[in-house]
């Protein structure tokens, strides 16, 4: 239990309190020089995320074979994908890695407001067209605007900015 406070103990307490505080203040004071700031000033200086960073999703629709694997593996069901069987009289095109595209992709939308950025969809993708990019600046004013349709021209045009170098 706590000892009874004696007369000398009282002053010893004050002495140790001041002494240990001065030691602590000295440690803090040394940070004035010799320590670079660790924070960055955001809008002017942008942090470059590591290559492996799991940020915004990007689907390269030209290589997508509409296999629905991403939508099935998604634990929050935020990927909306729909496709139509390719008419038999048409030639079946191929992806960059040679996989035939038997279906025509008509819709590929990701609700990034729901997405939990777990990365499960990118690992199951057979043609590796769905990837995480290092882009993290895509805030919107409305929740509805967070649904990104990857078939729109703007998103296809943004490819160079989005896809990892």
């Amino acid at each position: 239990m706590e000892e009874r406070l004696t007369f000398f103990g009282y002053f010893r307490n004050i002495y140790t309190a001041v002494k240990t505080s001065v030691i602590g203040m000295w440690i803090t004071f040394r940070y004035v020089w010799g320590k670079k700031p660790v924070t960055i000033e955001y809008p002017e200086v942008r942090e470059v995320l590591p290559e492996s960073s799991r940020s915004r999703l990007y689907n390269d629709v030209m290589n997508c074979i509409s296999c629905n694997m991403c939508a099935i593996s998604c634990p929050v069901d935020c990927i909306y994908i729909s496709s139509i069987d390719r008419p038999k009289d048409l030639e079946i095109p191929k992806c960059d890695d040679g996989t035939p595209k038997r279906k025509v992709l008509t819709q590929y939308t990701i609700d990034t407001a729901l997405c939990c950025y777990c990365g499960l969809c990118t690992t199951v993708c057979p043609t590796e067209c769905l990837t995480h990019t290092t882009d993290y600046e895509y805030s919107q004013y409305e929740v509805e605007d967070m649904k990104y349709d990857y078939l729109t021209d703007e998103l296809i045009a943004w490819r160079d900015r989005l896809v990892k170098a």
Binding site: M1, E2, N13, T16, A17, K19, T20, S21, I23, G24, I27, T28, Y31, V38, L49, P50, S52, S53, R54, S73, C74, P75, C116, Y117, C118, G119, L120, T123, H132
Partner: protein, 391 residues
């Protein structure tokens, strides 16, 4: 709806000089749910007699996300991102428990390299989590700069985690059967560099906070939890060790490769004139554990040898029928996963035994008789994360 009835018997009724009794009432103070000292959305209803806490009633459930119910409808791999979100300050450790439970049911053999990587990563996660506990605890007690220093070091660990897994907090890095990505030699060098610097930082923290007389006065002999009560509450982790029991699953029932590593289990033994089981001991056990974790990571790095990082797991995971209760030593205590399977693609029941839930139930026990400011010190010392309390 039931409400808490005022407990009139506990009222003090001091007599005045003429012998009449003053009519006094306990004052009800609501601490939280939005209060920085409650470390999340914990609401504590405190009945105070002047400044002394007569009764504290924690109300939890503000962060209840139905994780256990939701897990019943998604496949075994999909549960891992949800397990992350329980204790968001130590997500790697949560994933470890869950994936170990599934692997044990499946009988999957985890490759050697994956086991060593898991050991390294979960020990680094322990350091990161304890740094957070240290920083916010000092902040609760009025010291601001340790918080910044702790965050600086924690940031370095998070940077490493971001490089290997891609995320800063919610990693989804431990997969069933192994780990997601391999760690490179440069990353190993980065860890060793970090550990070298971190050991010096630990000495600094000791001088700055642990030896500080004001900090000691605030935490010593406050919120004492006896060993008997700690057992009865089922407390684990730093709370049990702070009460003087050298209980650590890594030592008692080794998993991963802890049986090959040499480390000690720090316990609270009344260091620097404190009472065993008080806030200072619980805090100090965490500081000593960080030293042990540094030792563990150094030894585990030497065990790294090339090899595969993920074992053979079928594409669609179906667990055999049965149930399992798996527990591991997380930074905040023992996390248990009670997994029931009926042979289907989704779990039949996932029950998380969270250490923070157990530790929050200690609060009403240690609160009576404390000052309100000391109660804040008590909450900080048990280091709860509300995401895990409410699940």
């Amino acid at each position: 709806m039931q409400t808490w009835d005022m407990d009139l018997e506990e009222l003090k009724e001091p007599a005045t000089e003429s012998g009449e009794k003053l009519k006094t009432e306990l004052l009800t103070v609501n601490m939280g749910p939005q209060h920085p000292a409650t470390h999340g959305v914990l609401r504590v209803e405190i009945k105070t007699d002047s400044e002394i806490v007569a009764k504290a009633i924690p109300h939890i459930g503000y962060l209840h996300r139905c994780m256990e119910k939701h897990a019943e409808s998604i496949d075994y791999r999909g549960v891992i991102p949800f397990v992350d979100r329980l204790d968001y300050l130590a997500a790697m450790s949560q994933e470890l428990t869950y994936s170990m439970a599934v692997e044990k049911m499946l009988g999957t053999e985890v490759p050697r390299r994956a086991i060593v990587i898991r050991t390294i990563v979960s020990e680094l996660q322990r350091i990161a989590s304890h740094l957070m506990a240290f920083g916010t605890y000092a902040l609760d007690l009025g010291a601001f700069s340790p918080f910044l220093y702790a965050f600086d070091e924690r940031e370095k660990i998070l940077r490493f985690f971001e490089e290997i897994s891609g995320a800063r907090l919610l990693y989804n890095y431990f997969w069933i059967g192994g780990v997601w990505t391999d760690i490179t030699d440069q990353q190993v060098d980065y860890i060793i560099n970090f550990l070298n610097g971190f050991e010096k930082e630990l000495v600094k923290y000791d001088k700055l906070v642990s030896q500080n007389r004001i900090f000691q006065e605030r935490t010593m002999h406050v919120g004492t939890l006896s060993l008997e009560d700690a057992h009865s509450f089922g407390a684990t982790g730093p709370v049990l060790r702070g009460s003087g029991q050298a209980w650590d699953l890594r030592k008692v029932n080794p998993y991963l490769c802890y049986d090959e590593l040499d480390f000690e289990v720090p316990i609270g033994e009344g260091q620097r004139g404190s009472t065993v089981g008080d806030c200072y001991n619980r805090y100090y056990v965490r500081m000593l554990e960080m030293v042990e974790s540094v030792k563990l990571v150094r030894q585990a790095i030497k065990l790294l040898e090339p090899g595969p990082i993920i074992g053979k797991v079928s594409k669609v995971i179906k667990l055999p029928k049965g149930e399992i209760y798996m527990r591991t030593e997380c930074p905040r205590g023992e996390l248990g996963v009670h997994l029931v399977s009926d042979g289907d693609k989704t779990p039949y029941r996932v029950k998380i035994k969270s250490p923070c839930f157990t530790h929050t139930s200690i609060l009403p026990h240690i609160a009576p008789g404390q000052m309100i400011a000391d109660f804040v010190a008590s909450i900080g010392s048990i280091d709860i994360v509300l995401g895990e309390v409410d699940r």
